[in-house]
């Protein structure tokens, strides 16, 4: 016979309550890390070091997972292609002194220049996309390295925070010291033995944040509240 009345289970309520308390506790811990680092939330549009990014999510992000840090290569690494672009913009001026296209009718000369600038645009756009979408993400659970090797190939490397064994950062050279950027190497116990964050801004802070997250993860393990 079907049940006419089924009393709501208290167990379910309890688990919801427990999950909620875990969430608030976790948020408190993240807040603690933020306070300790003394770093403010980044609000700039196109930047290479975004602390606690708002409105940014990634493909494999879980509902409760929070992005702590989103890193791109330091903006100064773009200088080489920006300089090439400037040269490309002014390159057609050479035609004034070296008449390479003199035998061309004016309409062909005009189209050649237009196509040159189209190619310049493609070059700039391609380089910018490569800088903008090749990111390193540090969440409260894992680190993710998103690489778009070419227009048709993407590679995503992920490692759980609790698998991290060792963190090293390097910042050699005059330019790197001047603009405060370098490489962060993360040694892991997982299948991918080493995750590299290349040319990231403030590598010391990145290493510090990772260390804090490892400590937090260890604490969670001790208290048996691993998700």
């Amino acid at each position: 016979m079907p049940d006419i009345y089924v009393a709501p289970s208290r167990k379910k309520k309890k688990t919801i309550k427990k999950e909620f308390s875990l969430k608030t506790r976790r948020n408190k811990e993240i807040k603690k890390i933020v306070d300790e680092l003394g770093e403010k939330r980044t609000k700039k549009l196109f930047t290479s070091f975004i602390f606690l990014p708002k409105n940014i999510t990634f493909e494999t992000q879980e509902s409760e997972e929070k992005i702590i840090l989103l890193l791109r290569k330091h903006f100064i690494t773009n200088v080489s292609w920006i300089l090439i672009t400037i040269l490309m913009i002014f390159a057609p001026l050479i035609l004034r002194w070296i008449p390479l296209l003199e035998f061309f009718p004016w309409r062909f000369k005009f189209m050649t220049i237009i196509m040159w600038y189209l190619m310049t645009t493609a070059f700039v756009f391609e380089k910018f996309l490569s800088w903008y979408f090749n990111v390193f993400i540090i969440t409260d659970e894992r680190i993710v390295d998103v690489d778009f090797v070419s227009l048709a190939y993407k590679e995503i490397t992920e490692t759980k925070i609790d698998k991290i064994q060792d963190i090293t950062f390097t910042m050699g050279g005059a330019v790197r010291s001047l603009f405060n950027y370098g490489d962060v190497f993360v040694q892991t116990a997982g299948q991918i033995p080493r995750v590299e964050f290349e040319d990231v801004a403030k590598p010391d802070k990145v290493a510090k944040i990772l260390n804090q997250l490892i400590l937090q993860e260890e604490q969670e393990k001790i208290e048996k509240r691993v998700r």
């Binding site: 196509m115 645009t121 227009l151 048709a152 993407k154």
Partner: protein, 76 residues
């Protein structure tokens, strides 16, 4: 010189040059379409509130490529 070649071979040299130009622009349009598609995929991988701006630039880039194709077709 070009007139001589045209008279000798019996076809327009600039017609062939135009063909090469058009072919190059068609290849460029294909590249622009790939970029639009790629920006969409990249945006799905990392979704950001600024993605619409990049997507807009990609579409604008494709529109310019199509405009250049039309321009080449008319003036060459």
């Amino acid at each position: 010189m070009i007139n001589f070649i045209e008279n000798f071979l019996g076809f327009s040299v600039w017609g062939i040059v135009k063909l090469f130009f058009m072919l190059a622009i068609v290849l460029y349009i294909i590249f622009a379409v790939v970029i639009v598609r790629q920006v969409k995929l990249m945006g799905q991988t990392i979704s950001d509130k600024n993605n619409y701006l990049i997507s807009l630039i990609a579409w604008l880039h494709l529109a310019i490529a199509l405009f250049v194709f039309l321009l080449a077709w008319i003036i060459l």
